[in-house]
């Protein structure tokens, strides 16, 4: 057996790309889990088509999964893949421009048939015309190699071919020196009832691995050592999963059952799927007839003393506006999840965007303030989900939780928290009838009492009509209305007393401050780190609380000459900061359905420094 070189590398980004039916998401997930368990830091970016099964071999049918793994602390799925695995011509066409120059390009040459080439819009075969000379091209007949390896399996040709993604995965395991154990165990568990399929996948994986080892094609393989993460126990977690688990946890910490009402919509549906699996926590999930029903049911649930939760994406938030307003008027704790996606309207359903901030802030009739928070990373979704409930309950208010497609489907290693380290959420259902009024207010928080049906002596009626402060009786009195509008605003403003101060990343003052929010955290943070390493006067802050803003925000803004605000929208946070603090901000927008690359932000920071 030829002895091959093994080289150490720190960080590698691989993109698996193929047809929707090629199992690329699964391949990517297996590679990710293996790398995570192996001890690398990881970050992932799945990219799937809006169509479930676009015609095989077509450009819109290409599905991709990018994984970045490293021996260092990484924050994004990587700017440019170092490796592209393309299972057919369409996958090559869609992805090759992103591959770093000189990068490794592995293609399944069997799929480069005349028909497939035509479907992908290639006039000539790119494997033969020299157009890929800028890459290290490995053209392998993956389909037939896989079929040979599985010759003894009693499966149809179609089923055999379906295993070729595991052949590719095995090859990548060899190339990056990963153990196969995790995936072999997964295969055993998954195909417990179908041993022939289990055997086929096992053979495919191993064949890919040994192909790398034995063939003359590869002379070198690579090793990415373990990362030195903070000690502790870890698992890999996706944003939507973390969000759902966070809500289950909030319910346990508050000792109040969770009621989740939702209407399926990408990319929020996985929260419904995940929560539905946890009925043994007392979680009730209801798949409603539409988003309006969902928020309505959530309001009913909160009125009745459960944690009324609803989740959707941008188009669903449009439908929920009137319901959110009812929650504002009735001052009930309701949490509304918006997993933002490309818009407007149906927009780019499977792609990420960050453009619902102003809608969250203002998208309702009249003066209708709600608390708004946004997680920064997939793992942070867990903590912000708990935080959403802490605020909603303590202030008796709807809270909008702004996630996005990038966070929802992205993943990272998550340090598993200890249950006893998590803060209890205090819930005080009012029970004394003496002196009760529906809109009595707590002096500090201005919140009203949560008095739930079934409690004797506290029978009361609330609704969307304006009410008299304290008694809660319907009131059209002009002065009372103004007072109530102010009170509802003041209540939200007071949340600022109860959220952590912003930490400046870098020097507390300087030339450029980069301000981010939500899922752009990783890219911004990595970019700022990079320029700071060159001693440039740049710092950053990241907002997880968007309404109200942290109290020390104006102070920090005042200490920098230039404020750069990168966002996946046309400058919504930037607009808010200008309006609120009268500071000149420099918006930096990207609205392409894709997250920021680190390099894009680095370039922009340099440009701002030079201007």
């Amino acid at each position: 057996m030829p002895v091959k070189d093994r080289k150490d590398v720190q960080t590698v980004t691989i993109r698996f790309a193929g047809d929707s039916g090629d199992g690329m998401q699964l391949t990517g997930t297996q590679f990710t889990n293996t790398s995570a368990v192996f001890g690398n830091d990881i970050s992932t970016l799945p990219d799937f088509p809006a169509e479930i099964r676009a015609p095989a071999g077509s450009l819109p049918g290409v599905s991709g999964f990018q994984v970045n793994f490293s021996s260092r602390d990484i924050k994004t799925p990587g700017d440019e893949p170092n490796v592209l695995v393309a299972m057919n011509p369409a996958a090559l066409k869609v992805n090759v421009a992103d591959l770093e120059s000189g990068g490794i390009l592995i293609v399944n040459s069997d799929a480069f048939t005349e028909g497939n080439l035509k479907k992908a819009g290639y006039a000539k075969n790119p494997l033969e015309d020299g157009s890929l000379s800028g890459y290290r091209l490995f053209s392998l007949p993956i389909t037939s190699l896989n079929a040979n390896a599985l010759a003894e399996c009693k499966l149809t040709k179609k089923d055999v071919d379906r295993c070729k993604n595991f052949f590719a995965l095995g090859l990548m395991y060899w190339l990056y020196d990963r153990p196969m154990k995790q995936t072999l165990d997964w295969i055993d568990a998954k195909f417990k009832k179908n041993l022939e399929v289990a055997k086929a996948n096992t053979l495919a994986l191993k064949a890919g691995y040994y192909y790398g080892e034995t063939t003359e094609m590869f002379t070198t393989h690579y090793q990415v050592p373990k990362a030195s993460l903070t000690p502790g126990k870890y698992r890999n977690i996706m944003g939507n999963e973390a969000t759902a688990i966070g809500f289950v946890t909030a319910s346990a910490l508050a000792n109040v059952p969770l009621f989740y009402a939702s209407y399926p919509i990408t990319p929020a549906s996985d929260i419904l799927h995940e929560l539905s699996r946890h009925q043994n926590f007392g979680v009730k999930t209801m798949q409603c007839e539409d988003e309006i029903a969902a928020i309505s049911a959530a309001i009913g649930a909160s009125f009745a003393g459960n944690l009324g939760l609803t989740g959707t994406s941008g188009p669903g938030i449009c439908l929920k506006s009137e319901g959110i307003n009812l929650a504002v008027m009735t001052e009930l704790p309701v949490v509304i999840v918006d997993v933002q996606r490309g818009g407007p309207s149906t927009g780019l359903p499977t792609k990420t965007e960050q453009a619902d901030l102003l809608q969250a802030m203002f998208g309702r009739n009249s003066e209708s303030p709600v608390a708004i928070i946004a997680p920064a990373t997939p793992g942070d979704c867990f903590y912000m989900a708990i935080e959403a409930w802490r605020i909603a309950i303590k202030y008796m208010t709807p809270v909008l939780y702004l996630s996005d497609g990038y966070l929802a489907n992205g993943s990272e290693p998550w340090k598993i928290p200890k249950v006893e380290d998590l803060p209890k959420i205090e819930v005080r259902f009012r029970t004394e009838a003496e002196g009760y009024f529906p809109y009595l207010r707590d002096e500090a928080t201005l919140s009203r009492p949560w008095a739930i049906p079934g409690t004797p002596g506290l029978e009361h009626r609330i609704g969307g009509l304006e009410k008299q402060n304290i008694t809660g009786n319907v009131s059209y009195d002009p002065d009372n209305h103004m007072r109530m509008v102010e009170l509802r605003a003041e209540k939200i403003a007071r949340i600022a007393n109860d959220i952590p101060d912003l930490q400046v990343f870098g020097e507390p003052e300087g030339e450029v401050l980069v301000v981010g929010w939500g899922g752009t955290f990783g890219a911004i943070n990595a970019a700022v780190e990079e320029v700071q390493a060159r001693n440039l006067p740049v710092s950053s802050i990241h907002l997880r609380y968007l309404n109200p803003f942290p109290k020390n925000l104006p102070d920090i803004l005042g200490r920098f000459e230039k404020i750069l605000v990168p966002e996946l929208n046309l400058g919504q946070l930037s607009w808010l900061l200008r309006a609120k603090f009268l500071v000149p901000t420099i918006p930096f927008s990207k609205v392409k359905g894709k997250p920021f690359k680190i390099s894009e932000i680095v370039d922009k920071i340099e440009e701002v420094l030079e201007s």
């Binding site: 009925q279 009745a304 009324g308 009735t330 079934g454």
Partner: protein, 341 residues
């Protein structure tokens, strides 16, 4: 607001009157429906604090303010969804939905259909005045074709919807109709609605004396009522008329009115079975309208099916039996984990 509570004391109608001034137009049919409900509630053996009245928007939807129980005056059309959330969160509660023909059938038609087909244990009272009251007199989804209103000066060109048809098609497990002016009938029906387990739907003809006065008068006026309406009763022949001289029979798949006598007797008439799981006859009956037929009131359907709330609770229990009571430690540590030293 009440303070001292004695939950053992027998409740009276007074206990269900709130301290809010009732603000419907004098003469509005809503008063009667409110009064009959307040008459029925105390006798159900349910403590007052366990009732929740949920409404949408419209004149009738102000109802919860006037009943001294828990109440939620929600948004236009959404009461069935809000009420579903209430009931599912706390299945111990007795949850009523108060809605109008505009509220429940226009903007909220979707939610109404879905809460009925799910068989959520809700008592749904649809106040049908065949008009939009609160917005001052536009035609509603139950208004007759050609109805002249402010928004239809040349007459409405919408075909009306039949609320009972809708409820039957949506598989509500209890479907009934009554009218504001027949207080005795209304009380009986409300009692049955209150006791039904599952989605109970009742349409109540309600006079809006301001914008649609007399909409039902041509068959509800006392002098003519008996000849132009028929009260459906379980296990009884479908008979009507001041002198009990008319009845309904089935000819092929069509209903027909027959006169008794001349060889036609009570025994030839259809006997109504409200518990028939097949809603075909209920559908035929509810399609009758004056002048070709008598207008039917009473219970069209009354069956028992597991409710959504029972099944939801059942699943929670089953899940606890299967997987054990939820344990955060286990939840966090699910899947592949690894330790960094």
């Amino acid at each position: 607001m009440s303070t001292a509570i004695d939950s053992t004391a027998k409740l009276t109608r007074k206990d269900f009157e709130s301290d809010q001034e009732v603000r419907w137009c004098p003469g509005c049919g809503d008063y009667s429906i409110l009064a009959q409900t307040q008459k029925v509630l105390p006798d159900l053996g349910v403590p007052r604090e366990k009732f929740v009245m949920v409404s949408g928007i419209g004149c009738s939807s102000r109802f919860p303010y006037y009943v001294n129980t828990y109440g939620l005056h929600s948004i236009h059309g959404r009461a069935p969804a809000v009420a579903s959330g209430v009931k599912l969160s706390n299945p111990d509660l007795f949850v009523w939905v108060i809605t109008g023909d505009g509220d429940g059938l226009s903007i909220g038609g979707n939610h109404l259909v879905h809460c009925m087909r799910r068989n959520v244990d809700l008592k749904i009272i649809l106040f049908n005045n065949k008009i939009y009251g609160l917005t001052k007199g536009q035609y509603s989804p139950t208004s007759e074709l050609g109805k002249k209103t402010k928004s239809t000066p040349m007459g409405s060109i919408d075909y009306p919807i039949n609320p009972i048809h809708l409820a039957l098609a949506a598989e509500a497990t209890f479907v009934a109709r009554s009218l504001d002016v027949d207080t005795k009938h209304l009380v009986e029906i409300l009692q049955r609605v209150a006791k039904h387990k599952g989605a109970a739907f009742v349409e109540v003809f309600q006079n809006c004396n301001i914008f649609n006065d007399g909409a039902f008068r041509n068959f509800t006026d006392r002098e003519i009522r008996d000849d132009r309406m028929i009260a459906i009763q379980h296990g009884k022949p479908l008979i009507f008329g001041k002198d009990h001289d008319k009845g309904l029979v089935l000819k092929g798949i069509k209903l027909e009115v027959v006169k008794l006598g001349n060889g036609v007797s009570e025994f030839d008439l259809l006997v109504y079975d409200e518990e028939d799981p097949d809603p075909t006859l209920a559908y035929l009956l509810s399609g009758m309208s004056y002048p070709d037929f008598p207008v039917p009131v009473g219970v069209f359907r009354n069956i028992r099916k597991p409710t959504y709330d029972e099944m939801m609770l059942g699943q929670v229990e089953k899940s606890i039996n299967l997987y054990g009571k939820g344990d955060l430690e286990k939840l966090f540590n699910a899947g592949d984990t690894w330790v960094v030293e």
